[in-house]
Amino acid sequence: MNLALDKDKLLRFQSLIALFLLCVGLSILSDKFLSVSNLWNVMRQISVNICISTGMTLIVLTAGIDLSVGSVLALCGAITAGLLKSGIEIPSDNLYIGFTVLGASLAGILTGSALGALNGWTITKFKVPPFVATLAMLTVARGFTMLWTKGFPISGLGDTFLFLGTGWFLGVPVPVWISALIVVLAVFITTKTRLGKYIYAIGGNESASRLSGIQVNRVKIIVYTIGGALAAVGGLLVTSRLDSAQPNAGVSYELDSIAAVVIGGTSLSGGRGSVLGTVQGALIIGVLNNGLVLLNVSPFWQQVVKGLVILLAVIIDKANSKND
């Protein structure tokens, strides 16, 4: 009994342990790794992934998936950038609407939420598998990004907006504040509210949840909406950091995000996992990326290593769940 308990504890902290070992290894191999500026750099880089992956975690907990986050991120970033830069002109009425940073950002987040809700709606209303519905959204949203930007970056967005991605507040980069706030909210939702319990229950057994009176479709739509909104926040951070909305921003971000979720111990079949696990997963990926760059490993090898880490994480996870 005691042994089993210890093993349980060990399993719960396995990704933290992996992260710790990774950091120890890197600080021995590279003297730059442990510098304050490098660590803030890592944190700033992963804050986008943490935003997206927090939403992804909620979705995966319901046994769903969202492949469209990268494209949604790009579209929302582009919409915010476009509105900030040129506003909306309606020539027929001789009308021009300008946008403040807040207005443009909200428009971006609103777009993300709407696209997420649309994902949830097609999945619940037409019973389209999440993989397919969000794959379609991946393509559609990327297409609209190209249409909106006409294929060119939208740059020169003004200092106020740049604060979002590059500023500091109380000695901590602003993106880190934002992602931390999102994580705290998500942890609260998953552990302390009805919605959170419903999310886990639906992933654990959708049929039993429905029979228990849980409005399964509503919960799913909410979860995909949150996913879309958080992808949009990621879009704001990316656009702000680069001072430019790139039409091909966020390509393959969904993969990094799913990787963070999986490495963090959330089961792709739903019902098991946590937001904090995903944060650890994102940290592991971020630190690994950073370390490989510091060690001058070729980008091609970086991809190979990252892939193998994901595979290893899932294999360990499978082995654990078999022991249950």
Partner: protein
């Protein structure tokens, strides 16, 4: 031909088989008898290689064997007709029958003609007049069961296990099956026949083995025993639960069902429920009996609003007509459904006892929109105590509990919603006798407290033990109604046989 010695099989929380012995002879039919949960299906699954981790020894033609999977058992010549239908709905009859043992032409491609011919032969032999290329999804349950039988006949098996082969068929189809069993006996095959239906066993079986609570209680020749003796051995004791006298207060109508009709999901012109009318009074327990495919489960599901798009008719609770299109509305109206398959529909197995019990009432267990751990724990403790749920704590995962305790969790979850009407679908399926009688007592106590209760069951003793009134269903219709005083097994069974077959026999 086959001897099994001291077979023991444990599941988490239950010993399903306890030192069971079994001997099967070639050319004989051995009846395996026992109540639900006695261990019959478990034993058959061990013999056919489905369960591999058991204690004890199996000798096949005097050689010690241990099957690691169903394929190995098949290769030794053991075929099983499962109680649950194991057919793949969107494949044809031929494809299902030859699944995993397809016939190949000399070029290594599928020899479809040969398989089709062979299937046709089997169907002819079983007198099933359906084309071999019919998809299984388009067959009735009884027809599907015959396809299962055809599947077992295809392999040149020497031992054929039939697990409740007549649960979905009746009358003339049963006669065909018995004819085939006689032929198989002549071919010197050994047959195990598992069934609840004692009269069938007396017609067809040579030997019997009685299982009770996972132990082999008795065995012998069928001719040396009569039906009453068999029942006594099966049950081992009188069923203690006696329904209290129907209380005088049970006059207030709680639920009224008027002309309830349900369409088949795929075949639009076929109806699963046909103009069902009945009512349930406060404090009354109504038992509904029907054979497989009679529509019993669908009736409860329709009342609970799961098939709103395909159903018609009026459902009144306390006189008010309801339009229920999702479970949340049914719950709000005071209904609760304990589903037939608790693992699939009743519980979130990977979550703990507390979460499962609280799942229906989380909205009431909050303080200012935030889940209250204390309130949840209090509710959990209340029901663990009241229903005597055996669990180390509320934090135990539901999957680690025995079937009886799992069922109590499902009940607790629903009692927490303070329902007026409890719909119970096979409330004691697959749970041990002790837990069973506890659940019967609970059902009766709940009715005494004023709940209306519908118990759907395929077990006659269960229906007779708890019901104030018995309704019988066949092919989607209510065919009979008995008070508890009138109801007997014979009368109920007769009413449960589908009309189409019954009339042909007359």
């Amino acid at each position: 031909m086959l001897t099994a010695e001291n077979i023991t099989k444990r599941f988490p929380g239950v010993v399903a088989l306890d030192n069971v012995n079994l001997t099967l002879d070639a050319g004989k039919v051995t009846a395996l008898i026992g109540e639900n949960g006695a261990g019959k299906s478990t034993l058959m699954k061990i013999l056919s290689g489905v369960y591999v981790d058991y204690e004890g020894q199996i000798f096949w033609k005097d050689n010690l064997v241990k099957f690691n999977n169903p394929k190995e058992a098949q290769q030794h010549g053991i075929a099983i007709i499962h109680q649950e239908l194991n057919l793949i709905p969107y494949l044809t009859i031929t494809e299902n029958i030859f699944l995993g043992r397809e016939m190949l032409s000399q070029y290594g491609t599928l020899d479809k003609n040969k398989m089709r011919r062979k299937t046709q032969e089997l169907l002819d032999r079983l007198k099933l007049k359906v084309a071999p290329e019919t998809r299984v999804v388009n067959l009735k349950v009884g027809q599907q069961q015959i396809v299962e039988i055809a599947k077992a006949l295809l392999t040149e098996a020497e031992l054929i296990i039939m697990d409740e082969p007549t649960s979905a068929i009746t009358g003339s189809e049963v006669e065909v099956l018995f004819g085939i069993i006689e032929e198989l006996k002549v071919e010197n095959k050994a047959i195990v026949y598992v069934s609840h239906k004692l009269d069938e066993l007396f017609r067809i079986a040579d030997h019997f083995v009685v299982l009770r609570d996972g132990k082999s209680v008795d065995s012998g020749k069928m001719q040396d025993i009569d039906q009453d003796q068999l029942i006594t051995k099966m049950v081992g004791r009188k069923i203690e639960v006696m329904r209290k006298k129907l209380s005088q207060g049970a006059t207030e109508v709680l639920l009224q069902i008027e002309n309830l009709t349900l369409q088949h999901a795929l075949r639009k012109n076929e109806r699963i429920l046909k103009d069902i009318n009945f009512e349930v009074r406060r404090g009354e327990i109504v038992g509904i009996f029907g054979l497989m495919g009679a529509g019993r489960t669908e009736l409860l599901e329709t009342i609970f609003g799961l098939h709103a798009a395909r159903s018609q008719g009026t459902i009144r609770v306390e006189g008010k007509a309801l339009s229920i299109s999702k479970p949340a509305q049914a719950i709000a109206a005071g209904l609760a459904l304990v589903p037939e398959d608790r693992k699939k529909d009743g519980l979130v197995l990977g979550m703990d006892v507390k979460t499962n019990i609280c799942l229906t009432t989380l909205a009431e267990l909050e303080i200012m929109g935030i889940s209250s751990e204390n309130k949840e724990l209090a509710l959990t403790e209340k029901y663990i105590g009241e229903l005597k749920i055996k669990t180390p704590s509320g934090k135990q995962q539901a999957k680690n509990l025995s079937g009886g305790n799992q069922q109590k969790i499902v009940l607790a979850k629903w009692l927490a919603t303070k329902p007026k009407l409890l719909l119970l679908d096979e409330p004691t399926r697959g749970i041990d006798i002790h837990a069973k009688s506890e659940i019967y007592k609970l059902i009766i106590q709940l009715a005494d407290n004023g709940l209306g209760i519908i118990v759907v069951s395929s077990e006659l003793p269960e229906i007779l033990a708890v019901s104030d009134r018995v309704l019988v269903m066949a092919e989607g219709e209510l065919t009979a109604e008995f008070t508890s005083a009138e109801a007997t097994e014979d009368l109920i069974l007769k009413a449960a046989i589908p009309h189409s077959i019954y009339e042909k026999q007359l």
